[in-house]
């Protein structure tokens, strides 16, 4: 059974700096379970933006430490990747009553990456760690319609970190 772990911006923001016990808990979880969090390119770009109003997020530290990496570009030539992108944009647009073309493609990139890994057989189970419930639930719903209902799990980034800490990680 091959597991694939996708992480969104919110997970890294919620962990805080490497000196923070939340960061350390996630790192410990990753090392103990041989987990590498994979970030869609768009997510990595968001995390490394140069914005004077916000503190830097230590995503490069996690990459250097070997428990996070940036995904290769999505292969839009695979029909399922484009279908899932469109499906997620529709799902999120619908949740907020707005046109699908207004929905950011980065929201859909999480699920599209999951679809790509599953259809290539590179993974049999995919976990999506995000703090955007609409993106996580959308991914589960749209991938279920592609026949991958049992293979995708949305993990709420906040709940994940709280659980790790309450179980003493």
């Amino acid at each position: 059974m091959n597991r694939f772990y996708i992480a969104d911006t919110g997970l890294f923001v919620a962990m805080g700096q490497p000196s923070n016990s939340r960061y350390q808990a996630v790192r410990r979880f990753a090392r103990q379970n041989d987990v590498t969090f994979v970030l869609p390119e768009r997510v990595y770009e968001e995390l490394t933006v140069d914005d004077p109003d916000v503190e830097d997020v230590p995503v490069d530290a996690a990459i250097d430490e070997g428990w996070a990496m940036v995904a290769t570009p999505l292969e839009f030539s695979k029909p399922i990747v484009s279908r899932v992108m469109d499906g997620i944009q529709r799902y999120i647009a619908n949740a907020d009553d707005r046109p699908a073309d207004e929905v950011e493609r980065a929201d859909a990139a999480l699920a599209a990456l999951a679809a790509q890994e599953l259809c290539m057989g590179a993974a049999t189970e995919v976990y999506i760690y995000t703090t955007d419930i609409a993106a996580g639930e959308g991914a589960e719903t749209v991938l279920a319609s592609e026949g991958y209902g049992d293979s995708v799990t949305f993990v709420n980034g906040f709940r994940f970190i709280e659980d790790l800490r309450s179980t003493g990680h």
Binding site: T9, G10, V13, A14, Q24, R28, F29, Q32, N33, E46, L47, V49, D51, D53, V54, E55, V57, I92, A95, D96, R98, E102, V103, E104, A106, D107, Y127, T131, D132, I133, A134, A135, G136, E137, T153, F154, V155, N156, F158, R159, F160, D163, L164, T167, G168, H169
Partner: protein
Amino acid sequence: MSRTSNRANGDIVRDFLSIADLLGETQLAQLYAYLARGSEATVQDVMDDLDLAQGTAYSYVNRLVDAGVVEVTDDEQPRRYAAREIDLTVTQAGDREYTITPALIDAVGRRETNADIDTYIDRHGVAGLATALTYAVARERGEVTHRLMADDLDISPLAAEMILQALRAVVHEHYDIEEAGASLEELDIDDISADDA
């Protein structure tokens, strides 16, 4: 305009101004949020829980009573105080509307202890924070993502995520929203050894 409607207007303006005071002074906002969380409290409770000196606690409580947002629930000594529900909708020229709620006052009250909230108010004002809080509620309900908020408000997705996370505790304190997503147990990760850190 009749005299009575003038008086009603005066009351509304008075309420509005006292609530504006609340939003302008972090410590008053903190105290209001504290009283709104519990059922009622004495000045001694306020001193103990918010770590205020007696004179300061009395002065703040009295200001909130004078402003009409806190009431005396028991006049026996020691007096007990409770927050009155605030739900004030302000409509700007045009059709922008915002609602001032205990959740917003609570959020403002946290600026002293939360650097992200403090920075956000510096950049976008209390009105901007009110907008962010609306997005924070919608996001916890699964209706919107940090990227949509960033697009709508023309800020970076990272800045949106930061303020949404900073406001999350306020949202869950004031709104009844069930937590979504799988728990650690449901993840069924085979073996998490106790401690090899």
